[in-house]
Amino acid sequence: MLVRFWGTRGSLPTPLNAVAVREKIRRALKASVGQDLSTAERIEQFMDEKLEFAVAGAFGGNTSCVEIDGGGKQHILCDMGSGGREFGNAVMAQKYPHKDNVFNIFQSHPHWDHIMGFPFFVPAYIPGNKVIIYGCHDYLEEAYRRQHAEPGFPVPWAALAADIEFVALEPGKEYVVDGVTVRALKQYHSGDSYGYRFEKGGKSVVYSTDCEHKFESINPDYPFVDFLRGADLVIFDAMYSLADSISIKEDWGHSSNIIGVELAQMAGSKHLCMYHHEPNYDDAMISRILAETIRYEELSEEGESLHVSSAYDGREIVL
């Protein structure tokens, strides 16, 4: 399986501004002093080896959208945040002769930042395409349709020329979509959210965003631990610090890097990828949190080592 991140930011789109870009350039130029940048290859090498990601790249500003590519003919997505617009544009820009343009969207929940990309998802306007939106909320269709109405948005739902279908899922039940097995788990979040575990060919990825883990629940018998059991990749809502998540932001429905490490260790997962980044954090802060989380994993590790990373828009992970 291949996982592509189209949107990794929490709550609302967070674009880079000119000040942030200028700061990256300033730091890159400073680091380039004395370096041999005489060829294109050497420039690439310098960027890869000498510049940290927060300078040479960016975690990105689109809201939740992750593609699960199981190698089938159809497309599988988790959520339709603003990253869904870029995914749709990529589909429109390329020819996919092996694809039938069937889009399977697994919806964690219908909060705005997780559906806001759909009005700008161009394939939904193309006749012949099919869009199937899966979820466990009985008001999912209403939430999607409500976006396509005045005064919030001028294009009515009827203008979407693709064949659009909503499919209700039962948490805990296994479904097979385009050769990928998927099951949902209910999570603690305002109005509930659902995580999804995808499996194919002996590989597994868990998509778990907008989920708060209450301390009373965290133990080896916690159903979420079984949900993560042995997963090759866990995409995990690590929006807050632990201190914030159990004090001023308690019951805001999100989790922390520390809880992510502890749950993934408890479940014997292989790779924890932090996701749903706090929109108030810049790239330097997200990089710092990543370094700290890797260190916490070292400090807390008792068994197999857990790989820790951060998601960013445009990232691909091969399983």
Binding site: L242, A243, I246, I259, R295, Y296, L299, S300
Partner: protein, 121 residues
């Protein structure tokens, strides 16, 4: 979990020994709640013998600190080992709990009566 308790003036000094994790956090929390607002006007927890604290231990600390705030009983931690200090910083608990290097420093800041009693021990 072994936790020794000493009284210095109006302050109670708790000294837990060992890791604070899923298995020991309940005892750690009970020991703190037992003294916060009941037997001490100031509570100091000496972390010198704690090699590691997990999230559930930090939560216990926050519960005790919150209860102390309600009861107007300041709670401070001292003597963090290098690794535990890292965990406080990574979790941002260094922003929500009062941390001092030593028992003397904490008592001097929080209670002159307790500081004198500690100096005369």
């Amino acid at each position: 979990m072994e936790i020794t308790e000493s009284q210095f003036g109006d302050a109670v000094l708790l000294m837990p020994v060992g890791r604070v994790d899923q298995s020991t956090a309940p005892a750690f929390q009970s020991a703190m709640l037992e003294v916060v607002g009941k037997r001490g006007a100031v509570v100091v927890v000496d972390f010198s013998n704690i090699p590691y604290i997990s999230s559930v231990g930090l939560r216990a600390l926050m519960i005790a600190a919150k209860q102390g705030k309600v009861a107007k009983v300041p709670l401070a931690v001292v003597g963090l080992t290098s690794e535990v200090n890292e965990v406080f910083e990574i979790s941002r608990f260094n922003f929500v709990v009062d941390i001092f290097d030593t028992v003397e420093a904490a008592l001097t800041a929080l209670s002159s009566d307790a500081a004198s009693a500690y100096a005369a021990r």
